[in-house]
Protein backbone atom coordinates (compact mmCIF):
# COMPACT_ATOMS: atom_id res chain seq x y z
CA UNK A 1 0.00 0.00 0.00
CA UNK A 2 1.63 3.18 -1.17
CA UNK A 3 0.31 6.69 -0.93
CA UNK A 4 0.20 8.74 -4.17
CA UNK A 5 3.06 10.95 -3.10
CA UNK A 6 5.12 7.91 -2.30
CA UNK A 7 4.26 6.35 -5.66
CA UNK A 8 5.42 9.43 -7.50
CA UNK A 9 8.69 9.22 -5.69
CA UNK A 10 8.96 5.53 -6.51
CA UNK A 11 8.55 6.20 -10.20
CA UNK A 12 11.28 8.75 -10.21
CA UNK A 13 13.42 6.31 -8.29
CA UNK A 14 12.54 3.66 -10.80
CA UNK A 15 13.74 5.88 -13.63
CA UNK A 16 16.85 6.52 -11.57
CA UNK A 17 17.34 2.79 -11.34
CA UNK A 18 16.86 2.49 -15.08
CA UNK A 19 19.50 5.16 -15.64
CA UNK A 20 21.80 3.24 -13.34
CA UNK A 21 21.16 0.04 -15.24
CA UNK A 22 21.93 1.74 -18.55
CA UNK A 23 25.13 3.11 -17.06
CA UNK A 24 26.19 -0.27 -15.76
CA UNK A 25 25.23 -1.92 -19.05
CA UNK A 26 27.28 0.47 -21.14
CA UNK A 27 30.19 -0.06 -18.78
CA UNK A 28 29.92 -3.80 -19.34
CA UNK A 29 29.67 -3.29 -23.10
CA UNK A 30 32.72 -1.07 -22.89
CA UNK A 31 34.42 -3.99 -21.19
CA UNK A 32 34.24 -5.84 -24.49
CA UNK A 33 36.24 -3.07 -26.03
CA UNK A 34 39.86 -2.68 -25.00
CA UNK A 35 39.75 0.86 -26.35
CA UNK A 36 38.58 1.85 -22.87
CA UNK A 37 41.13 -0.11 -20.88
CA UNK A 38 43.98 1.27 -22.96
CA UNK A 39 42.63 4.75 -23.59
CA UNK A 40 45.50 7.15 -22.77
CA UNK A 41 43.25 9.58 -20.86
CA UNK A 42 41.81 6.77 -18.77
CA UNK A 43 45.27 5.32 -18.19
CA UNK A 44 46.56 8.72 -17.06
CA UNK A 45 44.14 8.43 -14.12
CA UNK A 46 44.80 4.72 -13.56
CA UNK A 47 48.56 5.37 -13.49
CA UNK A 48 48.27 7.64 -10.46
CA UNK A 49 48.15 4.40 -8.46
CA UNK A 50 51.75 3.53 -9.37
CA UNK A 51 53.15 6.73 -7.86
CA UNK A 52 50.98 6.12 -4.79
CA UNK A 53 52.30 2.57 -4.44
CA UNK A 54 55.90 3.73 -4.86
CA UNK A 55 55.56 6.48 -2.26
CA UNK A 56 53.63 4.27 0.16
CA UNK A 57 56.16 1.46 -0.01
CA UNK A 58 59.12 3.83 0.29
CA UNK A 59 57.39 5.31 3.35
CA UNK A 60 56.70 2.06 5.21
CA UNK A 61 59.72 0.11 4.05
CA UNK A 62 62.86 1.02 6.02
CA UNK A 63 65.68 1.89 3.63
CA UNK A 64 67.92 -1.07 4.37
CA UNK A 65 65.28 -3.57 5.52
CA UNK A 66 66.16 -6.89 3.94
CA UNK A 67 63.90 -9.12 1.91
CA UNK A 68 63.37 -12.51 3.59
CA UNK A 69 66.28 -14.89 3.11
CA UNK A 70 65.83 -18.63 2.99
CA UNK A 71 67.87 -21.72 3.86
CA UNK A 72 69.82 -24.09 1.59
CA UNK A 73 67.01 -26.64 1.79
CA UNK A 74 64.62 -24.11 0.22
CA UNK A 75 66.66 -23.74 -2.99
CA UNK A 76 64.48 -24.61 -5.99
CA UNK A 77 65.46 -27.87 -7.71
CA UNK A 78 64.36 -26.28 -10.97
CA UNK A 79 64.84 -22.50 -11.11
CA UNK A 80 62.92 -21.24 -14.11
CA UNK A 81 64.92 -19.26 -16.66
CA UNK A 82 62.75 -16.57 -18.15
CA UNK A 83 62.98 -13.81 -20.77
CA UNK A 84 66.15 -14.07 -22.84
CA UNK A 85 67.93 -17.34 -22.25
CA UNK A 86 70.44 -17.29 -25.12
CA UNK A 87 71.21 -13.83 -26.54
CA UNK A 88 72.04 -13.90 -30.24
CA UNK A 89 74.15 -10.73 -30.25
CA UNK A 90 77.43 -11.41 -32.10
CA UNK A 91 79.68 -9.62 -29.61
CA UNK A 92 78.04 -11.46 -26.78
CA UNK A 93 78.45 -14.83 -28.49
CA UNK A 94 82.15 -14.14 -29.04
CA UNK A 95 82.61 -13.26 -25.36
CA UNK A 96 80.61 -16.31 -24.29
CA UNK A 97 82.65 -18.69 -26.48
CA UNK A 98 85.79 -17.50 -24.66
CA UNK A 99 84.10 -18.03 -21.29
CA UNK A 100 83.83 -14.26 -20.76
CA UNK A 101 87.57 -13.78 -20.07
CA UNK A 102 87.49 -10.73 -22.36
CA UNK A 103 84.20 -9.43 -20.98
CA UNK A 104 84.38 -6.00 -19.34
CA UNK A 105 81.73 -4.15 -17.39
CA UNK A 106 81.70 -0.43 -18.13
CA UNK A 107 80.72 1.93 -15.33
CA UNK A 108 80.21 5.46 -16.57
CA UNK A 109 77.83 8.40 -16.82
CA UNK A 110 77.56 10.65 -13.78
CA UNK A 111 80.52 9.16 -11.92
CA UNK A 112 83.75 10.77 -10.78
CA UNK A 113 85.86 7.97 -12.19
CA UNK A 114 84.52 6.01 -15.17
CA UNK A 115 85.92 2.49 -15.08
CA UNK A 116 85.82 -0.93 -16.58
CA UNK A 117 85.78 -4.08 -14.50
CA UNK A 118 86.59 -7.62 -15.52
CA UNK A 119 84.92 -10.63 -13.94
CA UNK A 120 88.11 -11.14 -11.91
CA UNK A 121 87.89 -7.53 -10.70
CA UNK A 122 84.28 -8.07 -9.61
CA UNK A 123 85.16 -11.33 -7.87
CA UNK A 124 87.90 -9.43 -6.06
CA UNK A 125 85.39 -7.08 -4.46
CA UNK A 126 83.75 -7.94 -1.14
CA UNK A 127 81.09 -10.54 -1.97
CA UNK A 128 77.65 -11.25 -0.61
CA UNK A 129 75.77 -14.53 -0.86
CA UNK A 130 72.01 -14.57 -0.34
CA UNK A 131 69.26 -17.15 -0.73
CA UNK A 132 66.31 -15.10 -1.87
CA UNK A 133 63.02 -15.57 -3.61
CA UNK A 134 62.64 -14.49 -7.21
CA UNK A 135 59.09 -13.34 -7.99
CA UNK A 136 58.16 -13.13 -11.64
CA UNK A 137 55.56 -10.57 -12.70
CA UNK A 138 53.68 -13.54 -14.19
CA UNK A 139 53.03 -14.84 -10.69
CA UNK A 140 55.47 -17.68 -10.03
CA UNK A 141 58.35 -17.74 -7.53
CA UNK A 142 61.69 -19.60 -7.33
CA UNK A 143 64.27 -19.56 -4.55
CA UNK A 144 67.95 -19.44 -5.49
CA UNK A 145 71.33 -18.72 -3.96
CA UNK A 146 73.02 -15.72 -5.51
CA UNK A 147 76.59 -14.58 -5.04
CA UNK A 148 77.93 -11.30 -6.28
CA UNK A 149 79.40 -7.93 -5.52
CA UNK A 150 77.00 -5.48 -3.87
CA UNK A 151 76.31 -2.72 -6.37
CA UNK A 152 77.23 -0.21 -3.66
CA UNK A 153 80.85 -1.50 -3.73
CA UNK A 154 81.10 -0.65 -7.42
CA UNK A 155 79.31 2.68 -7.06
CA UNK A 156 81.55 3.76 -4.18
CA UNK A 157 84.66 2.98 -6.22
CA UNK A 158 83.39 4.89 -9.24
CA UNK A 159 82.21 7.82 -7.12
CA UNK A 160 78.61 8.89 -7.62
CA UNK A 161 78.17 12.47 -8.74
CA UNK A 162 75.54 14.34 -6.69
CA UNK A 163 73.28 14.98 -9.68
CA UNK A 164 72.92 11.25 -10.42
CA UNK A 165 69.37 10.01 -9.74
CA UNK A 166 69.18 6.61 -11.40
CA UNK A 167 71.39 3.66 -12.21
CA UNK A 168 70.79 2.32 -15.73
CA UNK A 169 71.79 -1.20 -16.75
CA UNK A 170 72.53 -1.80 -20.43
CA UNK A 171 72.29 -5.43 -21.48
CA UNK A 172 73.44 -7.69 -24.29
CA UNK A 173 70.03 -9.25 -24.96
CA UNK A 174 67.44 -7.84 -27.33
CA UNK A 175 63.68 -8.21 -27.62
CA UNK A 176 61.27 -7.83 -30.53
CA UNK A 177 57.68 -7.01 -29.46
CA UNK A 178 58.14 -8.69 -26.11
CA UNK A 179 59.79 -11.80 -27.58
CA UNK A 180 63.46 -12.40 -26.78
CA UNK A 181 65.81 -12.44 -29.77
CA UNK A 182 67.27 -15.74 -28.67
CA UNK A 183 69.60 -18.08 -30.48
CA UNK A 184 67.72 -21.26 -31.32
CA UNK A 185 69.44 -24.55 -30.48
CA UNK A 186 71.79 -25.42 -33.36
CA UNK A 187 72.06 -21.84 -34.57
CA UNK A 188 75.61 -20.56 -34.36
CA UNK A 189 74.83 -16.87 -34.46
CA UNK A 190 72.13 -14.54 -35.69
CA UNK A 191 72.58 -12.68 -38.95
CA UNK A 192 71.91 -9.34 -37.33
CA UNK A 193 70.20 -8.61 -34.05
CA UNK A 194 66.83 -6.97 -34.43
CA UNK A 195 64.54 -5.46 -31.86
CA UNK A 196 65.31 -3.29 -28.90
CA UNK A 197 68.10 -3.82 -26.38
CA UNK A 198 67.10 -4.78 -22.84
CA UNK A 199 67.76 -2.15 -20.25
CA UNK A 200 66.60 -1.39 -16.74
CA UNK A 201 66.91 1.38 -14.17
CA UNK A 202 66.63 1.72 -10.41
CA UNK A 203 66.84 4.58 -7.95
CA UNK A 204 69.56 4.96 -5.30
CA UNK A 205 67.45 3.53 -2.48
CA UNK A 206 67.58 0.23 -4.34
CA UNK A 207 71.09 0.78 -5.71
CA UNK A 208 72.59 1.06 -2.20
CA UNK A 209 70.41 -1.67 -0.66
CA UNK A 210 72.58 -4.46 0.80
CA UNK A 211 70.79 -7.15 -1.23
CA UNK A 212 71.32 -5.36 -4.53
CA UNK A 213 74.01 -7.47 -6.14
CA UNK A 214 75.89 -7.72 -9.38
CA UNK A 215 75.59 -11.48 -9.28
CA UNK A 216 78.07 -13.78 -10.99
CA UNK A 217 77.07 -17.05 -9.31
CA UNK A 218 73.83 -19.00 -8.98
CA UNK A 219 73.72 -21.82 -6.43
CA UNK A 220 77.51 -21.77 -6.02
CA UNK A 221 78.34 -22.09 -9.74
CA UNK A 222 79.24 -19.47 -12.32
CA UNK A 223 76.05 -17.93 -13.66
CA UNK A 224 74.81 -20.04 -16.61
CA UNK A 225 73.92 -18.22 -19.85
CA UNK A 226 70.19 -18.90 -19.38
CA UNK A 227 70.31 -16.96 -16.10
CA UNK A 228 72.23 -13.95 -17.40
CA UNK A 229 75.93 -14.85 -17.64
CA UNK A 230 78.34 -13.43 -16.89
CA UNK A 231 76.63 -10.83 -14.69
CA UNK A 232 73.08 -9.99 -13.73
CA UNK A 233 71.39 -7.64 -11.32
CA UNK A 234 69.70 -9.00 -8.20
CA UNK A 235 67.23 -6.92 -6.18
CA UNK A 236 65.62 -8.17 -3.01
CA UNK A 237 62.42 -6.18 -3.04
CA UNK A 238 61.22 -5.96 -6.64
CA UNK A 239 59.91 -8.28 -9.35
CA UNK A 240 62.06 -10.31 -11.72
CA UNK A 241 61.89 -8.06 -14.77
CA UNK A 242 63.81 -5.35 -12.91
CA UNK A 243 66.77 -7.70 -12.51
CA UNK A 244 68.57 -7.16 -15.80
CA UNK A 245 70.55 -10.12 -17.17
CA UNK A 246 73.67 -9.98 -19.41
CA UNK A 247 74.69 -6.61 -17.94
CA UNK A 248 77.36 -4.94 -20.12
CA UNK A 249 77.34 -1.40 -18.90
CA UNK A 250 76.20 0.54 -15.86
CA UNK A 251 75.41 4.17 -16.52
CA UNK A 252 74.50 6.75 -13.90
CA UNK A 253 72.04 9.36 -15.11
CA UNK A 254 69.82 12.12 -13.82
CA UNK A 255 66.96 11.06 -16.11
CA UNK A 256 66.18 7.94 -18.13
CA UNK A 257 64.02 9.81 -20.66
CA UNK A 258 66.66 9.38 -23.38
CA UNK A 259 66.60 5.56 -23.39
CA UNK A 260 64.09 3.48 -25.35
CA UNK A 261 60.62 4.94 -25.04
CA UNK A 262 61.75 6.82 -21.92
CA UNK A 263 59.99 4.74 -19.28
CA UNK A 264 63.14 3.43 -17.65
CA UNK A 265 63.27 -0.14 -18.91
CA UNK A 266 62.44 -2.51 -21.74
CA UNK A 267 59.23 -3.83 -20.13
CA UNK A 268 58.39 -0.42 -18.73
CA UNK A 269 58.37 0.86 -22.33
CA UNK A 270 55.72 -1.79 -23.02
CA UNK A 271 53.51 -0.62 -20.16
CA UNK A 272 54.82 -2.38 -17.04
CA UNK A 273 55.37 -0.34 -13.89
CA UNK A 274 58.80 1.19 -13.33
CA UNK A 275 58.43 0.49 -9.63
CA UNK A 276 57.91 -3.26 -9.36
CA UNK A 277 57.79 -3.68 -5.58
CA UNK A 278 54.23 -4.93 -5.98
Amino acid sequence: MIRPAERKLLISRRSLLRLGAIGAGSLLLAGCDDAVSENPRVLAVIDKAEALTYRAQRLILPRDKLAPEYSESDIAPEFRANGSTSPSDQTYRTLASANFVDWLLAVDGLVEKPMTLSLADLRGLPARTQITRHDCVEGWSCIGKWTGAPLSEVLNRAGVKPQAKFVVFHCADRFQDGVPDDLEPGESSAAGSGGAPYYESIDFVDAYHPQTLLAYELNGKPLPIAYGAPLRLRLGRQLGYKMAKYVMRIELVDSFAQFGAGKGGYWEDLGYEWYAGI
Binding site: M1, I2, R3, E6, L10, R13, R14, L16, L17, G20, G31, C32, D34, S37, E38, L43, V45, I46, D47, K48, A49, E50, L52, T53, Q57, I60, L61, P62, K65, L66, A67, P68, Y70, D74, A76, E78, R80, R133, D135, C136, V137, E138, G139, W140, S141, C142, I143, G236, R237, Q238, L239, W267, L270, G271, Y272, E273, G277, I278
Partner: protein, 277 residues
Protein backbone atom coordinates in the same frame (compact mmCIF):
# COMPACT_ATOMS: atom_id res chain seq x y z
CA UNK B 1 16.94 2.54 11.84
CA UNK B 2 14.48 5.23 12.79
CA UNK B 3 10.86 5.02 11.86
CA UNK B 4 10.17 7.61 9.21
CA UNK B 5 6.60 7.18 8.01
CA UNK B 6 3.57 5.09 8.75
CA UNK B 7 1.42 4.52 5.72
CA UNK B 8 -2.29 3.73 5.60
CA UNK B 9 -1.78 0.05 6.26
CA UNK B 10 -0.82 -0.71 9.81
CA UNK B 11 1.57 -3.42 8.68
CA UNK B 12 3.74 -1.45 6.22
CA UNK B 13 6.35 0.80 7.69
CA UNK B 14 9.09 2.63 5.83
CA UNK B 15 12.33 2.66 7.72
CA UNK B 16 15.72 4.16 6.96
CA UNK B 17 17.71 1.02 6.53
CA UNK B 18 21.10 2.19 5.24
CA UNK B 19 22.92 5.39 6.02
CA UNK B 20 24.53 7.50 3.28
CA UNK B 21 28.11 6.36 3.96
CA UNK B 22 27.11 2.71 3.86
CA UNK B 23 25.24 3.18 0.59
CA UNK B 24 28.07 5.11 -1.03
CA UNK B 25 30.77 2.69 0.08
CA UNK B 26 28.61 -0.25 -1.04
CA UNK B 27 28.43 1.01 -4.62
CA UNK B 28 32.07 2.07 -4.80
CA UNK B 29 32.93 -1.37 -3.47
CA UNK B 30 30.75 -3.02 -6.11
CA UNK B 31 32.46 -1.07 -8.90
CA UNK B 32 35.95 -1.75 -7.54
CA UNK B 33 35.13 -5.41 -7.04
CA UNK B 34 34.09 -5.92 -10.67
CA UNK B 35 37.33 -4.37 -11.95
CA UNK B 36 39.48 -6.14 -9.36
CA UNK B 37 37.97 -9.49 -10.28
CA UNK B 38 38.31 -9.06 -14.04
CA UNK B 39 41.80 -7.56 -13.95
CA UNK B 40 42.75 -10.22 -11.40
CA UNK B 41 41.74 -12.95 -13.84
CA UNK B 42 43.84 -11.16 -16.48
CA UNK B 43 46.84 -11.29 -14.12
CA UNK B 44 46.15 -14.94 -13.27
CA UNK B 45 46.18 -15.75 -17.00
CA UNK B 46 49.87 -14.74 -17.23
CA UNK B 47 50.65 -17.95 -15.31
CA UNK B 48 47.43 -19.95 -14.91
CA UNK B 49 48.71 -22.30 -12.23
CA UNK B 50 48.56 -22.27 -8.43
CA UNK B 51 50.93 -23.76 -5.87
CA UNK B 52 51.24 -24.22 -2.12
CA UNK B 53 54.26 -23.04 -0.18
CA UNK B 54 56.98 -20.47 -0.68
CA UNK B 55 57.70 -21.10 -4.33
CA UNK B 56 56.40 -22.71 -7.51
CA UNK B 57 56.81 -26.44 -7.89
CA UNK B 58 56.16 -26.30 -11.63
CA UNK B 59 55.64 -30.07 -11.97
CA UNK B 60 52.91 -30.14 -9.33
CA UNK B 61 50.56 -27.17 -9.31
CA UNK B 62 47.42 -27.94 -7.33
CA UNK B 63 45.41 -26.15 -9.99
CA UNK B 64 46.33 -25.30 -13.57
CA UNK B 65 44.63 -24.45 -16.85
CA UNK B 66 46.30 -25.56 -20.06
CA UNK B 67 45.62 -26.71 -23.59
CA UNK B 68 45.57 -30.48 -24.02
CA UNK B 69 48.86 -32.03 -25.15
CA UNK B 70 47.04 -34.24 -27.65
CA UNK B 71 44.55 -31.70 -28.97
CA UNK B 72 45.51 -28.03 -28.63
CA UNK B 73 41.89 -27.00 -29.19
CA UNK B 74 40.82 -28.70 -25.95
CA UNK B 75 41.19 -26.85 -22.65
CA UNK B 76 42.07 -28.90 -19.59
CA UNK B 77 41.78 -27.77 -15.98
CA UNK B 78 43.90 -29.85 -13.63
CA UNK B 79 42.80 -29.96 -10.01
CA UNK B 80 45.02 -31.94 -7.62
CA UNK B 81 46.29 -34.02 -10.54
CA UNK B 82 42.88 -34.76 -12.04
CA UNK B 83 42.11 -33.44 -15.55
CA UNK B 84 38.75 -31.90 -16.42
CA UNK B 85 37.77 -30.86 -19.94
CA UNK B 86 36.85 -27.18 -19.64
CA UNK B 87 37.09 -26.19 -23.31
CA UNK B 88 35.53 -22.81 -24.01
CA UNK B 89 35.92 -21.69 -20.41
CA UNK B 90 39.30 -22.55 -18.91
CA UNK B 91 42.49 -23.58 -20.69
CA UNK B 92 41.26 -22.96 -24.22
CA UNK B 93 38.65 -20.42 -25.29
CA UNK B 94 37.88 -18.47 -28.43
CA UNK B 95 39.78 -15.32 -29.34
CA UNK B 96 38.20 -12.21 -30.91
CA UNK B 97 38.06 -14.00 -34.28
CA UNK B 98 36.36 -17.08 -32.87
CA UNK B 99 39.52 -19.19 -33.03
CA UNK B 100 40.40 -21.48 -30.11
CA UNK B 101 43.22 -19.95 -28.13
CA UNK B 102 45.17 -21.18 -25.11
CA UNK B 103 44.46 -18.99 -22.09
CA UNK B 104 43.38 -19.51 -18.48
CA UNK B 105 40.14 -17.56 -18.25
CA UNK B 106 38.19 -16.58 -21.38
CA UNK B 107 38.31 -13.07 -22.82
CA UNK B 108 34.76 -12.21 -21.74
CA UNK B 109 35.68 -12.29 -18.04
CA UNK B 110 39.10 -10.59 -18.14
CA UNK B 111 39.97 -6.89 -18.12
CA UNK B 112 41.24 -6.03 -20.62
CA UNK B 113 39.80 -8.82 -22.70
CA UNK B 114 42.97 -9.36 -24.76
CA UNK B 115 45.93 -10.97 -23.00
CA UNK B 116 47.74 -7.93 -21.58
CA UNK B 117 49.34 -8.43 -18.18
CA UNK B 118 50.81 -4.91 -17.95
CA UNK B 119 47.44 -3.20 -18.42
CA UNK B 120 45.68 -5.72 -16.16
CA UNK B 121 48.14 -4.94 -13.36
CA UNK B 122 47.72 -1.19 -13.68
CA UNK B 123 43.93 -1.47 -13.42
CA UNK B 124 44.17 -3.99 -10.59
CA UNK B 125 46.36 -1.79 -8.41
CA UNK B 126 44.34 1.35 -9.12
CA UNK B 127 41.13 -0.33 -7.98
CA UNK B 128 42.98 -2.02 -5.12
CA UNK B 129 43.78 1.43 -3.74
CA UNK B 130 40.20 2.59 -4.25
CA UNK B 131 38.93 -0.61 -2.63
CA UNK B 132 41.20 -0.29 0.42
CA UNK B 133 40.45 3.41 1.00
CA UNK B 134 36.73 2.76 0.54
CA UNK B 135 36.92 -0.28 2.82
CA UNK B 136 38.52 1.75 5.60
CA UNK B 137 35.78 4.38 5.25
CA UNK B 138 33.16 1.63 5.55
CA UNK B 139 34.80 0.02 8.59
CA UNK B 140 35.35 3.33 10.34
CA UNK B 141 31.77 4.45 9.82
CA UNK B 142 30.52 0.96 10.73
CA UNK B 143 32.42 1.05 14.01
CA UNK B 144 31.43 4.61 14.92
CA UNK B 145 27.77 4.09 14.05
CA UNK B 146 27.84 0.65 15.71
CA UNK B 147 26.40 -0.77 12.46
CA UNK B 148 28.88 -3.65 12.50
CA UNK B 149 28.12 -4.69 16.08
CA UNK B 150 24.42 -3.89 16.07
CA UNK B 151 23.33 -5.04 12.61
CA UNK B 152 25.94 -7.50 11.34
CA UNK B 153 27.44 -9.40 14.23
CA UNK B 154 25.14 -12.38 15.01
CA UNK B 155 23.90 -12.68 18.60
CA UNK B 156 23.37 -15.93 20.47
CA UNK B 157 19.67 -15.78 19.80
CA UNK B 158 20.55 -15.38 16.10
CA UNK B 159 22.70 -18.50 16.22
CA UNK B 160 19.86 -20.45 17.82
CA UNK B 161 17.62 -19.14 15.04
CA UNK B 162 19.73 -20.68 12.25
CA UNK B 163 17.56 -23.81 11.68
CA UNK B 164 14.38 -21.76 11.43
CA UNK B 165 16.04 -19.26 9.10
CA UNK B 166 17.36 -22.03 6.87
CA UNK B 167 13.85 -23.49 6.71
CA UNK B 168 12.40 -20.10 5.73
CA UNK B 169 15.00 -19.68 2.99
CA UNK B 170 14.36 -23.17 1.64
CA UNK B 171 10.68 -22.29 1.32
CA UNK B 172 11.75 -19.05 -0.42
CA UNK B 173 9.95 -17.03 2.24
CA UNK B 174 11.62 -13.70 2.83
CA UNK B 175 9.73 -11.69 5.44
CA UNK B 176 10.58 -7.99 5.31
CA UNK B 177 11.92 -7.45 8.75
CA UNK B 178 13.54 -4.59 10.54
CA UNK B 179 16.74 -6.53 11.10
CA UNK B 180 18.84 -8.83 8.97
CA UNK B 181 18.08 -12.51 9.43
CA UNK B 182 20.89 -14.66 10.76
CA UNK B 183 21.87 -16.11 7.38
CA UNK B 184 22.19 -12.59 6.01
CA UNK B 185 24.33 -11.61 8.97
CA UNK B 186 26.60 -14.61 8.51
CA UNK B 187 26.89 -13.97 4.77
CA UNK B 188 27.72 -10.29 5.23
CA UNK B 189 30.18 -10.92 8.06
CA UNK B 190 31.98 -13.61 6.06
CA UNK B 191 32.20 -11.40 2.97
CA UNK B 192 32.81 -7.93 4.40
CA UNK B 193 34.74 -8.72 7.56
CA UNK B 194 36.57 -11.93 6.62
CA UNK B 195 36.90 -12.48 2.86
CA UNK B 196 37.57 -8.90 1.76
CA UNK B 197 40.27 -8.21 4.41
CA UNK B 198 41.75 -11.60 3.49
CA UNK B 199 41.93 -10.47 -0.15
CA UNK B 200 43.88 -7.38 0.90
CA UNK B 201 46.31 -9.29 3.12
CA UNK B 202 47.00 -12.10 0.64
CA UNK B 203 47.34 -9.50 -2.11
CA UNK B 204 49.93 -7.60 -0.08
CA UNK B 205 51.79 -10.85 0.61
CA UNK B 206 52.41 -11.20 -3.12
CA UNK B 207 54.31 -7.89 -3.12
CA UNK B 208 58.07 -8.38 -2.66
CA UNK B 209 58.27 -4.91 -1.15
CA UNK B 210 55.59 -5.65 1.44
CA UNK B 211 57.22 -8.99 2.25
CA UNK B 212 60.39 -7.12 3.17
CA UNK B 213 58.44 -4.64 5.28
CA UNK B 214 56.19 -7.23 6.97
CA UNK B 215 57.77 -10.70 6.76
CA UNK B 216 55.08 -12.05 9.15
CA UNK B 217 52.66 -11.91 6.21
CA UNK B 218 54.57 -14.83 4.70
CA UNK B 219 54.42 -16.76 7.97
CA UNK B 220 50.68 -16.20 8.32
CA UNK B 221 49.83 -17.49 4.85
CA UNK B 222 52.56 -20.12 4.49
CA UNK B 223 54.59 -18.43 1.75
CA UNK B 224 54.03 -16.25 -1.28
CA UNK B 225 52.63 -18.97 -3.50
CA UNK B 226 50.19 -20.09 -0.81
CA UNK B 227 49.09 -16.47 -0.44
CA UNK B 228 48.49 -16.32 -4.20
CA UNK B 229 46.38 -19.49 -4.02
CA UNK B 230 44.39 -18.23 -1.02
CA UNK B 231 43.86 -14.95 -2.90
CA UNK B 232 42.38 -16.95 -5.78
CA UNK B 233 40.22 -19.23 -3.60
CA UNK B 234 38.89 -16.28 -1.59
CA UNK B 235 38.07 -14.50 -4.85
CA UNK B 236 36.14 -17.61 -5.91
CA UNK B 237 34.23 -17.51 -2.63
CA UNK B 238 33.42 -13.82 -3.27
CA UNK B 239 32.11 -14.65 -6.74
CA UNK B 240 29.75 -17.17 -5.10
CA UNK B 241 28.79 -14.62 -2.48
CA UNK B 242 28.01 -11.97 -5.08
CA UNK B 243 26.03 -14.47 -7.15
CA UNK B 244 23.87 -15.48 -4.17
CA UNK B 245 23.66 -11.85 -3.02
CA UNK B 246 22.34 -10.68 -6.41
CA UNK B 247 19.89 -13.60 -6.66
CA UNK B 248 18.56 -12.84 -3.18
CA UNK B 249 18.20 -9.14 -4.02
CA UNK B 250 16.19 -10.13 -7.10
CA UNK B 251 13.86 -12.68 -5.49
CA UNK B 252 13.20 -11.07 -2.10
CA UNK B 253 11.68 -7.83 -3.38
CA UNK B 254 14.01 -6.21 -5.88
CA UNK B 255 12.47 -2.71 -5.80
CA UNK B 256 12.44 -2.53 -2.03
CA UNK B 257 15.97 -3.92 -1.79
CA UNK B 258 17.44 -1.67 -4.46
CA UNK B 259 15.70 1.36 -3.03
CA UNK B 260 17.12 0.63 0.39
CA UNK B 261 20.67 0.63 -0.99
CA UNK B 262 20.13 3.72 -3.17
CA UNK B 263 17.89 6.02 -1.08
CA UNK B 264 18.13 4.21 2.25
CA UNK B 265 14.36 3.67 2.51
CA UNK B 266 13.06 0.16 3.06
CA UNK B 267 9.46 -0.93 3.62
CA UNK B 268 9.01 -3.56 6.30
CA UNK B 269 6.03 -5.57 7.46
CA UNK B 270 5.81 -5.16 11.19
CA UNK B 271 5.10 -8.35 13.06
CA UNK B 272 2.05 -8.94 15.25
CA UNK B 273 3.86 -8.31 18.51
CA UNK B 274 4.80 -4.81 17.43
CA UNK B 275 2.75 -2.10 19.09
CA UNK B 276 -0.53 -1.33 17.30
CA UNK B 277 -0.76 1.97 15.47
Amino acid sequence: MSQVTMDSSPRHVTIRRHGPILRLTHWINALAWVFLLMSGLQIFNAHPALYWGRQSNFAHPFLSMTASDRDPTRGITWIAGHPFDTTGWFGVSNDANGQPNERGFPRFVTWPSEQDLATGRRWHFFFAWLFVINGFAYLLSGIISRHLVRDLWPSWSDIRDIPRSVFEHVRLRFPRERHYNVLQKLAYVSAALIALPLMVLTGLTMSPGMDAAFPWLLEVFGGRQSARSIHFITATFLVLFVFVHVVMVLISGVINNMRSMITGRYVIEEEAHDPPR
